[in-house]
């Protein structure tokens, strides 16, 4: 192989920050939506549950069922993306050395973090749109809810679960992260106030569930979608989880 002279003549310099960020967000989003296991977790299962909960009367839900079911699956979808999927991909990205790779380019480190969070936010947005469209088809009427609260809860829920997910995936070995993230997802789905409302759980568990991000987010979303105002407690719970997990994460997360 011969290279014409001047091919590699140095011309260093940092690319445009906006373009770097956009490229990374788009790539992270594509990676998340391309991976079968992740899509199963973030879209297929929530969609199946949305349809199932609305049409099959197995779990007791307040009427209209499409509205209550939407609150449940939105909470599940956010938990799947921001926590489970995020933790697992971060664990394996660290294993594969991609963070170190990027940290050795001209990209500022804050941009790597923002690119990652941006990808997560984009996936959540896709989930919200897809689930909302299907919910409308199932009889959900968007006009009846409190859109401001719903949006706020989605943002806070993503932040709280994202912080815990980053903490998990950024500190444990990839295989351990995979196991823990999936088990926690499963437990929270059934006993964390997502699928079964706190009120339907036995006494002490119901109290604990209210303090979990899963319970706070799901309860809050069901209330807000029905037109109510979520309790301040739910908002505080999500904020506290974000701050505590985020704070610990900034000190303990390792890049490789």
């Amino acid at each position: 192989m011969t290279f014409s002279p001047g091919t590699f003549t140095p011309a260093p310099g940092r690319g445009q920050l906006g373009r770097m960020l956009a490229t990374q967000v788009v790539l992270e989003t594509k990676l998340a939506l391309r991976q079968g296991e992740q899509v199963l977790l973030t879209l297929i299962i929530p969609l199946a549950l949305l349809v199932g909960l609305t049409l099959l009367r197995v779990v007791p839900l307040p009427e209209p069922r499409a509205t209550s079911a939407l609150g449940t699956v939105l909470a599940l979808a956010i938990m799947s993306t921001a926590f489970t999927s995020q933790a697992i991909s971060l664990g394996f990205d660290r294993r594969y050395g991609v963070l170190r790779r990027l940290a050795a380019t001209a990209v500022p480190r804050w941009l790597i973090v923002c690119g990652r969070l941006g990808g997560m936010a984009a996936v959540v947005l896709v989930q919200v749109v897809v689930l909302a469209v299907v919910a409308i088809a199932l009889g959900w009427r968007p006009g009846a809810g409190s859109p401001g609260w719903v949006c706020l809860l989605i943002v806070l829920g993503t932040a709280a679960f994202g912080a815990v997910g980053v903490l998990l995936g950024g500190t444990l070995r990839a295989e351990l992260t995979l196991a823990v993230a999936n088990v926690v997802w499963f437990v929270l789905l059934f006993a964390g106030g997502v699928l079964v409302p706190a009120a339907a759980l036995p006494g002490p568990l119901a109290t604990v569930v209210q303090l979990l991000p899963s319970g706070a987010l799901a309860e809050g979303l069901r209330t807000a979608l029905a037109g109510g105002t979520p309790s301040l407690g739910h908002v505080v719970v999500l904020l506290v989880w974000t701050l505590v997990a985020g704070g610990v994460a900034t000190r303990t997360v390792r890049w490789s």
Partner: protein, 309 residues
Amino acid sequence: MSGSAGALEVRDLVVRYQGRPAVDGLDLDLAPGQVLALLGPNGAGKTTTVEVCEGLRTRDAGQVRVLGTDPAGAPDALRARIGVMPQGGGAYPGVRVREMVGLVATCSANPLDPDWLVETLGLAACARKPYKRLSVGQQQRLALACAVVGRPELVFLDEPTASLDPQGRRLVWDLVRALRADGVAVLLTTHLMQEAETLADHIVIIDHGRSVAEGSPDTLTAAGADRELRFRAAAGMDLRLLADALPEGCTVSEPSAGSYLVEGSIDPQVLSTVTSWCARQGVLADDLRVARRSLEDVFLELTGRELRS
């Protein structure tokens, strides 16, 4: 190869792992348009040294200047000027080859054309394959692409050919030569003697984190008992007369039956002494050749053990 214009200047570098020194007082110099090879067995401290220079690892003592800047903390402005090929890994498991090169290209102001680079490095056929399904050799060529795509002034290549087939190795060598010709400084680590000998302007052999020898490939292989003369003849010849005729410092032996070895400073006089002695004995010296020590001989002599690869 020193002074303010140096691409890389390392003085007395010390890095410890849990109290034990991984790098122990290393000095390095690299000028633009030059190739410096860190040659050493596995665990010698090569990767640690490179990671300190890249700003990915902190040092315990010593001065390091990369393009005139201290790499500690990996300042943004410095990272924009260097290219890094880590030893293994360095991509999202699910990312496609072309996507990864494209991502790293956007980090730079004037990158090479990613499509051209992918094609040139023989990755066109797997451009849409996810990283985790690539062969190790393909992963390595992708890492190389990512190291040079930003048109850096200084490139760090950590064992760039460790898992490549001979064709792939040849390609990387051609690329390193092209980088050098275009004025890029290259620091490469390797445990392949031939690679260091072929590519480097300057070689530092390290073991246990210290430099055990350094110099150009020529000076390294010429140093010490630098030459030997071998020939084949009838087995069991009486060597006493020849030994007496040879100049001071030259020895002759018969390591295996019919195979003779003269060690020492081999000059034309020695050659003529050997051939005339053979003529007097009435034998024909067959397969007579003067051999220089290979870098491998130097290396094994210095590190005193088998390659740990």
